[in-house]
């Protein structure tokens, strides 16, 4: 990345849900054309962070700059204009199940452009070809497997030729081969079309396959940012535990404290 052009700039974003602080002062620049992976354990705030980037959640304080606008403060019309310039692949694909595969992909074109139906049908075929699903346009989402749904979701996300694509756990629940397929699609889109990809995942295999840079989130904070090599060689025990997947380490699933016995017998003693 010789000319590092910042495309998304997150500044001091804070978000609380009730009493709980989910994001604690996150500051991060995302560069044009890179694949940035956001990883972290369940409940670390990575999904919430992604929803700040697509503007479906607004921060309590801080700024999210994208295409020269602060989407934390953008009005509905401005937000609509920005949303047309990025795509989002949801965890389950989020296909509209009352529409066929083709109608799903065509929806943004039909709603936002004046393209002729013949052109739209060609675009659908092209996008389906790109995700390896030629000839699937007349099937309903219920007839597809999980991996196919995600690929159709990806085709829908790229149909408006976006500059940025966001992926929410794109490989969750897929078999290893399909994981590889989705990873390859991500890489292809980034490299060939110069699309910026922001991927939220905790699938370590695909993290190191696709990432240009990795952000490790932990308890609402950015623990470390670096290239895959830097992250792999990180001295931070939390990062190391996350990469290797050890049950023992600083990230503990056991509740701390000596009150276990007290907790066990509390119901009996209070009688």
């Amino acid at each position: 990345m010789s000319d590092k052009q910042v495309i998304i700039s997150v500044k001091n974003v804070v978000k609380n849900f009730g009493e709980r602080r989910i994001l604690n002062d996150i500051t991060l620049d995302i560069y044009e054309g890179e694949t940035l992976v956001i990883m972290g354990g369940s409940g670390c705030g990575k999904s919430t962070f992604l929803r700040h980037l697509i503007g479906s959640i607004r921060p309590d304080s801080g700024e999210v700059w994208m295409f020269g606008q602060d989407i934390a403060k953008a009005g509905e019309d401005e937000m609509d204009a920005i949303r047309k310039r990025f795509g989002m692949l949801f965890q389950s694909g989020a296909l509209f199940d009352s529409m066929t595969v083709g109608e799903n992909i065509a929806l943004p074109l039909r709603e936002h452009t004046k393209l002729d139906e013949n052109v739209i049908s060609i675009v659908i075929k092209m996008k389906l070809e790109q995700v390896g699903l030629r000839g699937f346009e007349n099937l309903m989402p219920a007839q597809l497997s999980g991996g196919m749904k995600k690929r159709v979701g990806l085709a829908r996300a790229i149909v408006m030729d976006p500059k940025i694509i966001f992926y929410d756990e794109p490989t969750a629940g897929l078999d290893p081969v399909m994981t590889g397929v989705i990873d390859k699609l991500t890489i292809d889109l980034t490299r060939k079309l110069q699309i910026t990809s922001v991927v939220v995942t905790h699938d370590m295999g695909s993290v190191f396959r696709i990432a240009d840079r990795i952000v490790m989130l932990h308890q609402g904070n950015i623990l470390e940012i670096g290239t895959p090599t830097q992250i792999r060689n990180s001295k931070n025990p939390i990062v190391q535990q996350f990469i290797t997947g050890d049950a023992e380490g600083p990230i503990s699933f056991v509740q701390k404290g000596d009150d276990y016995l007290e907790h066990l017998t509390s119901d009996i003693r209070h009688k």
Binding site: I54, S56, E76, D80, A81, R83, K84, F86, G87, M88, F90, Q91, S92, A94, L95, F96, D97, L107, P108, E111, H112, R156
Partner: protein
């Protein structure tokens, strides 16, 4: 205890304001959407009218026909003691048009269409489809709520009108075949006592009920949280809330028409 009451009240108030806000956003898209070149989709509207209207005909006919018969038999039981069975026609006609037709049809539609709308939107919500609409720059209120709202506002009065007729026919069947009234006389008496005003109040009521059903159903749907269990809970709440609000609105509207002398 006191805390629980406070919490429930607050939550009810919040829901009330959110439903009113949804009403205004829906009206905004219906009336101002076309000027911003973002009209409510005609295709979605027609799909919903077919589902809410045409597909509901059989059940509405069924319910209203038998209620008309019941109404006729019930009133014949009392009117026959005074030898005034011919007024069965007037009673069935007026009460079908003013009260029974709109309320009963609306309750049936709340159960059939309201529940279906909530279940559909709730499933869309928990499977991220509502959020997907937003990221595709498609406003869920414009795209999901407005067509359903409009379809019900148009179709429920139509169903009520047809239901009224079928109910009166149910009364006619009892009057002619059981009470042995002359068919022509029955129809004449119905027409003589039934005024346009009776029918109009019924239709006005049904339009209000349609707004209640569609708004509650859509609100409960798109505010659903928590997977399959949440979908079930929202659907139940949608139907129950619609039922209660329809009855309350009916009482208020009937009182208004009664005291206004119409």
């Amino acid at each position: 205890m006191l805390e629980a009451i406070g919490k429930t009240t607050l939550s009810l108030l919040r829901q009330f304001f959110e439903i009113v806000s949804l009403l205004f956003r829906t009206l905004y898209w219906v009336f101002f959407g076309p000027f911003r070149r973002k009209p409510v989709s005609a295709k979605g509207f027609f799909a919903q009218t077919v589902f809410a209207g045409a597909d509901s005909l059989v059940i509405v006919f069924f319910v209203d026909f038998f209620i008309g018969m019941v109404l006729a038999m019930q009133s014949a039981y009392q009117l026959s003691q005074m030898g005034a069975t011919i007024y069965v026609a007037a009673l069935v006609g007026v009460s079908m048009a003013r009260e029974i037709g709109p309320v009963l049809t609306s309750l049936v539609i709340a159960g059939r269409v309201g529940a279906a709308i909530t279940a559909e939107l709730a499933t869309m919500k928990v499977t991220e489809q509502v959020e997907a609409l937003e990221t595709l720059s498609l406003n869920p209120v414009r795209y999901l709520v407005a067509p359903r709202f409009l379809a019900l506002i148009f179709m429920l009065p139509c169903l009520v009108l047809l239901g009224d007729l079928i109910g009166m026919f149910g009364g006619y069947v009892v009057g002619v075949y059981n009470l042995e009234l002359p068919g022509g006389l029955y129809i004449d008496t119905t027409i003589q006592f039934l005024t346009i005003k009776d029918i109009m109040t019924g239709l006005l009521k049904s339009a209000v009920f349609a707004a209640i059903i569609s708004l509650i159903a859509c609100y409960k749907g798109i505010s659903t949280e928590g997977g399959a269990e949440g979908v079930g809970r929202s659907t139940t709440e949608s139907v129950v809330t619609s039922f209660i609000l329809i009855i309350i609105a009916d009482a208020i509207l009937t009182a208004v028409f009664y005291f206004a002398g119409t």
